[in-house]
Amino acid sequence: MNDIERRVFVKQGALALVALGLPPDFLLKPLLAGTRGLARKKTHICRLQRGAVDGLSMVIPFGERAYYGSRRSIAIQEPGSGDGSVLDLDGFFGLHPALRPLQELYGRREMAVVHAVGSPHPTRSHFDAQDFMETGTPGVKSTSDGWLNRVLQDTGCADCGGRTLGNPTAHAADHAAGQSSMAAVPALRGISMTSAFPRAMQGDHPALAIPDLNNFGVRHDDQVGSAFRRLYRTEAGDAVSSAAEEAFDAVRLLETIDPSRYEVAGGAEYPSGDFGRSLRQIAQLAKADVGGWDTHVRQGGAQGRLTGRLIQLSQGIRALYDDLGDLMDDVVILTMSEFGRTVAENGSGGTDHGHANCMLALGGSVNGGRVLGDWPGLERERLYEGRDLAVTTDFRDVFAEVVSGHLGAEHLERIFPEYGSDPGRYRGVLR
């Protein structure tokens, strides 16, 4: 729809930031493969970069003089100035050199960038901003569930003609009696690779948290497992028991997928080692995201702390991408972070809490090879509160486009209450 418009955008009002992320990466292929014969499963991977990544270092507006003026020690050299210079995307924006594995995906038009995206709420608190990004209701603290959970509720079960899961337990029983699709365990529709549920996944639809791939299952023998199963069944209805029951159901289903037949396709290079280790690494990557982006001190330029993080991120995504191969046609990956960081570097070679950020969208159905959104500019008078990148795209517009266009969600007014969905605001992330 709208490629980034270089016209200078007059700042109006306030905006804050957004994003969210959960990585159900590793189960993806077996699940997709296992259900291929039944129906094509659309999958959405959110990777939340908690701690507020410096978006101006991920996707760099090297065409802005003010970028170099504001970041004396941490700016990345213009494209073509040797090792560690910006990887040019379109003559104005470029990728951090650590994101080289993603450059090719951009070239294949399978990765798009949305820049100056964020939340309309001005908070610079990590915890509030993450909350708002995960509930999808900026400024409203009383929202009890996450928008991803509302997406699960709304998209219901494709195997049942799209009806929503009014009563997940009954629904699960229906399936358990009949078919063995993954919808038989509704919790498998939403997976978070964390030990506690992220806010975005909390809500009425069952979902699964898998903190540790190797430890997911009841160890020892079936007898211990079945005894625990019975213990937890006696208390149906409370949080502890329903969490345990979902886990048992998921374990049973996962056991039917034979991991030994799952081989890495496409010569994927995970950050290191064999596939089993790779899965662990992805899980670790997910865990390592907590706080690691909060670069108040010596974040570095082409080399340094942030670079190490970005290498992990880009290699992890690229490895997953290559491994899934043409299954990526059914997957959309979004990266997101609660807000951006100050345009100017601070006194310690780092950046403080800012406002707008950038998001990456990847997948076969992404309308890639473009930097989307309105670019507000980095001249001081164009900055939000005189110091931060202004928000010109509400993060909900990106989420809404993906969940409606890709996942087929219909009731966006329920998923994003009091905001809803206006396709006129979509940035054209999807083909």
Binding site: S195, A209, D238, V297, S348
Partner: protein, 584 residues
């Protein structure tokens, strides 16, 4: 192993149907209401309601028992000393820790040597072992062992509970570089002595502790025009501009002016923001970005030690001599001592939430600021809400929060009185509150050991299960620490990890750890308890465990264990992994 065998012998009785259902060992009626209150108090204020502790509360009465716990210096804890003495890290100073577990730069060349092929296999193995012994990872092992040992064995249970709570409130992350050597001292001197003291003192102690100064970067936050780098940079640029051709000179001059306009760059607002948001006022309490900036300016110059001694410390190199690792002798002593450096301080006037700090306030204005924040009504509410959430209910009764906030303000932030009010309030003992929380992972692990008289010498191996359960002590990376609400711990994956933990603990899979079945069962016996009923009464006091008992019995009949030992271990594991044991 032998303890496990004994567990079995005692539990074997449960395998015979009918025998196990002994009548409850405790009387009913009004006394049972008192007992229920005592159990509830111990479930929340300690790491597990041991039977003898229940009796202790009943005989002293709740107010007196609580009063003793609120004065830990009056509680004899000498049995703990020999256990802590075996964990050197627990008592080592920052300097001693740095000396014994030096920063990684110090051992770099020796580690490179180990990687190379220049050593023989035996020498290499020996050096590797020595490096491991001096690795900072050992600090974390020691800290974790001490935290668990105290939780399980200390008689000063409430002090341990509150130390963990306030550590999390003023969280620092062990994994951030220099913090490794600082966390032990931080807990020992900035947190523990203040948990029943004045809140203001704890804020000040954390603000001036190198662990916090380092973790949230304040140690290098300096007034913009005072930063040596800024001065050098400015002079350098001015010289370069003067050498430029005239037509370029003008543009460069403009650019420099533009940069000077872009505002202050010398300070770092990381700590200032969290001080207000997490430590005192809470977010959205009427302060603005401008207030955050001025708090940061007030705290410029709050730093530590001699930069020179830290540089010297990093430059020092360990060596390999005569087949051994030789650590350099450095005086680490002052590298991390709190200092106010006035030459780095922003001396101009500041305003925080309408309160004017006049120019030239020096270090004193930072103390004044902390006093202002620590006594603010928003802080009182914040602290009250956190305590009520953590110790009472995820959505605490408003009346309780109001009451605790009032006590906080009326007592000048006296945490002893606030804590006392918390555990004596009607709301705390309300029926809807009892057993309504899911144990946090640390509480689950600690209560498992405490209730089964588990050994703790090798407690460091518990870090792995704690990590997988989601609450490894000292490893919360974000300044907000671990979740306060209990609902967040009840996720599906974590539930499996809990069951697996119970099973591996009782089967002896965790090396050096396991229940002391001998003691557990002789105590049950002495109280007149028997079999599975006695066991559930000991581990789940005040809980109706009839269904649990029935299922375990049925299970053992349906799947007869190969041996008595196996049956006993399975029963204990099922109780510790049961939904009842996950709540408190």
């Amino acid at each position: 192993m032998s303890a496990l065998k004994r567990v079995t012998l005692c539990i074997s009785v449960i395998l015979i149907p009918g025998v196990a259902m002994a009548p409850p060992a405790y009387p009913q009626g009004t006394q049972s209401a008192d007992r229920a209150r005592a159990v509830h108090l111990l479930q929340r204020a300690t790491y597990g309601p041991l039977p003898q502790e229940i009796e202790g509360v009943l005989s002293a009465g709740i107010p007196d028992w609580l009063d003793r716990q609120l004065h830990p210096e009056h509680v004899d804890d000498s049995a703990l000393d020999p256990m802590l003495a075996r964990i050197p890290v627990a008592s080592m100073s920052i300097g001693e820790l740095l000396e014994r577990y030096p920063p990684s730069q110090v051992t770099r060349s020796v580690r490179e040597l180990v990687q190379s092929d220049s050593l023989g296999a035996t020498e290499q193995r020996g050096l590797r072992r020595e490096l491991r012994e001096h690795s900072s990872r050992r600090i974390l092992d020691g800290l974790a062992t001490a935290r668990i040992t105290r939780a399980v064995h200390s008689e000063r249970q409430l002090q341990e509970m509150m130390t963990a709570f306030w550590f999390d409130h003023f969280n620092v992350f062990w994994g951030k570089d220099a913090t490794r050597s600082l966390v032990a001292d931080y807990e020992r001197n900035a947190i523990r002595p203040h948990v029943f003291g004045k809140f203001e003192d704890m804020v000040l102690a954390t603000a001036q502790h190198p662990a916090m100064l380092f973790y949230l970067d304040n140690f290098q936050s300096v007034a913009p025009d005072r930063s040596p780098q800024a001065r050098v940079r400015r002079d350098d640029i001015t010289r370069r501009i003067q050498r430029m051709p005239a037509q370029e000179r003008e543009r460069a001059q403009q650019r420099m002016e533009q940069q000077q306009r872009r505002g202050p760059g010398g300070f770092n607002e990381n700590y200032a923001r969290e001080l207000m948001e997490l430590h005192t006022l809470e977010v959205d309490r009427g302060y603005t970005q401008a207030d955050v900036v001025d708090v940061a300016r007030i705290l410029t110059g709050w730093t530590f030690g001699e930069r020179g001694s830290r540089i010297q410390m990093r430059q020092a190199q360990a060596s390999y001599e005569d087949g051994h690792l030789l650590l350099p002798e450095i005086d680490y002593g002052d590298a991390y001592r709190f200092r106010f450096r006035s030459q780095l301080h922003d001396g101009a006037e500041k305003t925080v939430m309408g309160h004017v700090f006049e120019a030239g306030g020096g270090q004193g204005e930072g103390v004044e600021l902390i006093r202002l924040l620590a006594h603010h009504p928003s802080t009182a509410r914040h602290v009250a809400t956190q305590l009520a959430t953590h110790f009472v209910a995820d959505e605490p009764p408003a009346s309780l929060v109001d009451h605790l906030a009032e006590v906080f303000l009326a007592t000048d932030g006296d945490l002893r009185e606030v804590t006392r009010s918390l555990f004596t309030s009607d709301e705390f003992y309300d029926a809807t509150v009892v057993a309504n929380r899911v144990k946090s992972p640390f509480l689950l692990v600690a209560s498992t050991l405490r209730m089964t008289h588990g050994r703790t010498a090798n407690a460091r191996v518990l870090m792995e299960p704690l990590r997988s359960l989601g609450e490894a002590p000292y490893l919360a990376e974000a300044p907000i620490g671990y979740p306060e609400t209990s609902a967040q711990w009840a996720s599906s994956g974590a539930m499996l990890s809990r069951m697996n933990f119970a099973t591996s603990y009782v089967t002896g899979e965790l090396p050096g750890l396991g229940p002391d079945g001998d003691r557990l069962f002789s105590e049950i016996h002495m109280r007149g308890g028997e079999g599975l009923t006695g066991l559930t009464e000991a581990l789940l006091p005040g809980t109706d465990a009839s269904e649990l008992i029935a299922i375990i019995q049925e299970e053992l009949q349906t799947n007869p264990p190969a041996s008595q030992r196996e049956g006993g271990v399975r029963a204990l594991g099922l109780i510790l992994g049961s939904p009842e044991f996950q709540r408190h």
